[in-house]
C-alpha cells in the first residue's frame, strides 16, 4: 500500500521532517520534505510529479498551513492532506478538515501512528483514483456510444436499400429515407405508427407479422416480392424480413431490408424471351430436317436402298444430337438466370418417376436392358416443378441406359430418409473411374475412352440435374465402381404434413 506512495512533508521543524522521511522511506514511500509553505506550494504547483499525500504542519513561520490549504483549493483537488497539529487542538484540526484536509495527526507521534495515518490517506487516495478512472471510462463510453450511434445512422441513411425496423407490436421505430422512397410513403413522420397503416402492400405487413410471431425458431428470414406502387409505372421490391431477437431468443421486433429488383426482373424476362426466340429459330429448321429424313427413311417418299437407309439413320442421330444440345444449353441458361423453377406444386414424385420410366422403356428395351422399380408405400409429397422433375429423371435414367452394357439392368429405388425423399438410380454399366467422379458435374465434361467414344452426349446432363436438384433445395451424389456400375442418389426435401 505504501510502496511508491509519493509523499510531501511541509514542516518548519527539522526533527519532524527527518523523522517522517526516515519512517516512510523505510516503508517504500518516496518522500520529499520542505521547511515552509511557500516552498511546498511551489513544488506542488510547478513540478510535474504529483503527490499522493501531503503532511502539512499548521503552525509555521511565513504562510500558515491554513493558508496553504486555501491555496491548494482548485490546484490539486485530489491531493490528500493530513494536517500536523502542534498543540493537539481539536478546533484547529476541525477547521483544517473543513478546508479540505482529510485527517490529522497530533505532535508528538510515534512511527506507528504516522504509518496508520499515511496508510489511511493512501487508501483514500487509491479509492479516489479508481473513482476517477471509472468516471473517465464512463464518459468515454458514452462518447463512443454517441459516436457509434451517429455513425450507424449515417450508414443507414445513406443506404440505397430501404431499412425498416419495427417493435414487437409492429410499430415503426426506425427507417431510412430509402425505405419511405421505395414504399412511396408520403405522410411523414411514420415513427410509432403501425406498419400496416403506412404502406399499401399487405404482403409486407404479413411478412413482418410472420417474423414477429416466429417465437420458436432461432433464426428465420422471410423473403417476399412486393409491388407497393400506387402511381405510374410498375416496380418490384424484394423485402427480406427477419425478427430481431434479444439475448434469450425472444422476439423484440423486426428488421426489413428492401431492395429494388425491377431491373433484375426486366432483364430476366428479356433473357428468357430471347432464349425462347433463339430456341425456336434454331430448333425449327433442324426439326424440319430431321422429320424429312424420317419420311425418306421410312420409305414414305419412295423406296430407298439399305445403304441409303443406314446413312439416313446416322444423319438423324446427328441432328438429334444438335437438338439435344440446344435443349441442354437452354436449360443451363435457365438455371443460370434462376428461372429453372417455373411452377412449384405438391406432387407425388413416384408418379413422375413411373411415367419417366415408361418413357425410357423403349430406349432401354432396344439395348436389352431391364428397368425395375422399388417404390416404398405411402411416400410423402414434395413441392416441386413437375417439368423439372421429369427433366431430372429423364436425364438420370437416360444416362443409366446410355452408359449401360448390353443386357444390363437399371434399378430405381424411392424411399423416405429422415426429412427427405431419396431416389437411387443404379445401373450395371461401365461405371466412372475415381479420377473422373469429381468432375462429372462440370459443364461439358465427358469421360473420353474407348467405351464412351460412340455414346452421343452433350456433357450438360448432370450439371442440369444438379441445377434442378439444388433449385429444389436438395442434393445429388454419385457412387460408382469402374466396370460394375453407377448409382446416382437424389435427396429432395419432403413437404411437412
Amino acid at each position: 500500500m505504501l510502496k511508491d506512495a509519493k509523499i510531501l512533508v511541509i514542516d518548519d521543524e527539522a526533527v519532524i521532517r527527518d523523522g517522517c522521511f526516515r519512517i516512510l522511506v523505510r516503508d517504500g514511500c518516496r518522500v520529499k520534505t520542505v521547511e515552509n509553505g511557500e516552498a511546498g506550494l511551489k513544488l506542488i504547483t510547478a513540478e510535474k510529479e504529483t503527490f499522493d499525500v501531503l503532511l502539512l504542519d499548521l503552525m509555521m513561520p511565513g504562510i500558515s498551513g491554513m493558508e496553504v490549504l486555501d491555496a491548494l483549493r482548485g490546484v490539486d483537488d485530489n491531493l490528500i492532506v493530513v494536517v500536523i497539529t502542534g498543540y493537539a487542538t481539536v478546533e484547529l484540526a476541525v477547521e483544517a478538515m473543513k478546508k479540505g484536509a482529510y485527517d490529522f495527526i497530533a505532535k508528538p507521534f510515534t512511527p506507528d501512528q504516522l504509518r496508520i495515518v499515511v496508510k489511511r490517506a493512501m487508501e483514500r487516495r487509491i479509492l479516489q483514483r479508481e473513482a476517477e478512472n471509472l468516471r473517465k471510462e464512463k464518459e468515454k463510453s458514452l462518447k463512443d456510444i454517441a459516436y457509434e450511434k451517429s455513425r450507424v445512422s449515417t450508414i443507414i441513411n445513406f443506404m440505397v436499400d430501404g431499412v425498416l425496423v419495427t417493435d414487437r407490436e409492429s410499430l415503426i421505430v426506425l427507417h431510412n429515407p430509402a425505405a419511405t422512397r421505395l414504399l412511396e410513403i408520403e405522410s411523414l413522420p411514420i415513427i410509432n405508427k403501425p406498419l400496416s397503416q403506412c404502406i399499401n402492400d399487405n404482403n409486407l405487413a404479413d411478412a413482418v407479422d410472420a417474423a414477429l410471431n416466429a417465437e420458436e425458431s432461432m433464426y428465420l428470414e422471410i423473403s417476399r416480392e412486393i409491388s407497393p406502387c400506387k402511381g405510374e409505372g410498375v416496380f418490384f421490391l424484394r423485402a427480406d424480413v427477419a425478427p430481431v431477437l434479444d439475448e434469450e431468443g425472444r422476439v423484440m421486433g423486426s428488421v426489413t431490408v428492401l431492395h429494388d429488383i425491377t431491373q433484375e426482373k426486366e432483364l430476366n424476362r428479356m433473357k428468357s424471351d430471347f432464349l425462347t426466340m433463339v430456341s425456336h429459330e434454331l430448333r425449327a429448321p433442324i426439326s424440319a430436317i430431321q422429320q424429312q429424313l424420317s419420311v425418306i427413311q421410312e420409305g414414305m417418299a419412295g423406296s430407298i436402298t439399305a445403304k441409303q437407309k443406314n446413312m439416313l439413320i446416322r444423319a438423324k442421330e446427328r441432328t438429334k444430337g444438335i437438338l439435344d444440345l440446344i435443349n441442354d444449353l437452354l436449360n443451363v441458361s435457365k438455371i443460370d438466370s434462376g428461372i429453372v423453377v417455373q411452377h412449384k406444386e405438391l406432387i407425388e414424385l413416384e408418379d413422375v418417376i413411373e411415367r419417366t420410366c415408361q418413357l425410357m422403356e423403349p430406349e432401354a428395351e432396344a439395348k436389352g436392358i431391364k428397368l425395375s422399380m422399388e417404390i416404398n408405400k405411402s411416400l410423402p409429397l414434395i413441392k416441386a416443378d413437375k417439368g423439372n422433375m421429369e427433366e431430372l429423371f429423364i436425364n438420370l435414367i437416360g444416362n443409366a441406359v446410355k452408359y449401360n452394357l448390353k443386357d444390363g439392368s437399371i434399378n430405381i429405388r424411392v424411399l423416405r430418409e429422415g426429412e427427405s425423399l431419396r431416389v437411387d438410380v443404379s445401373d450395371t454399366g461401365i461405371g466412372i473411374s475415381e479420377k473422373d467422379i469429381p468432375r462429372i458435374f462440370d459443364r461439358f465434361y465427358r469421360v473420353k475412352d474407348n467405351q464412351t467414344r460412340m455414346i452421343v452426349g452433350t456433357g450438360l446432363g448432370l450439371p442440369i440435374a444438379k441445377g434442378i436438384v439444388e433449385a429444389h433445395h436438395g442434393s445429388i451424389q454419385t457412387n460408382s465402381k469402374e466396370g460394375k456400375g453407377t448409382t446416382v442418389t437424389v435427396f429432395l426435401p419432403c413437404e411437412k404434413e
Binding site: S287, I289, M300
Partner: protein, 130 residues
Amino acid sequence: MEKAIKILVVDDDPDFVESVKMMLEDRGYEVITAYDGIEGLQKVKESFPGLIILDVMMPNKDGYAVCHELKSDPQYSRIPILLLTAVVSEMSKTTYTHRMGMEVEADDYIDKPVEPSELVKRAEILLQKI
C-alpha cells in the same frame, strides 16, 4: 378402305407441314394444310376435319389461342387437337396458362420433331375417341 378421314395440319414451317403430310398420307388419311393460326381456323370451319395437328409457335394467333378458341366453341369443341410443342411441353403449357390466364385444353401433346410411327400412333388414339 372407307372414305378417308380428314386431318388438318397447321404449322408455319412448310417443310414441316410437308413431312407430316407425307407421314399421314402414307397411312391413307386425307391431309389439309394451313400455315398460321387464322388460316387454320378458317380451314377448320371450311372442311370440319376429324383431327387437328397444331403447332404452338405461329404468327397470327399461336396454337394455344387457336386451341382455346376451338375448345370454347361448342360447334368445334369435340374435334380432337394434337398440339405440337418445341420445348418440354409440361413447362411451356403451365407458363402459358399463367401468363395468359386461359386454360389450354388440347387432347394430347407431342414434341417436335415427331417420329412417323409415334405421330401415327397418337393420331389413331385420338381418332378412336370420337
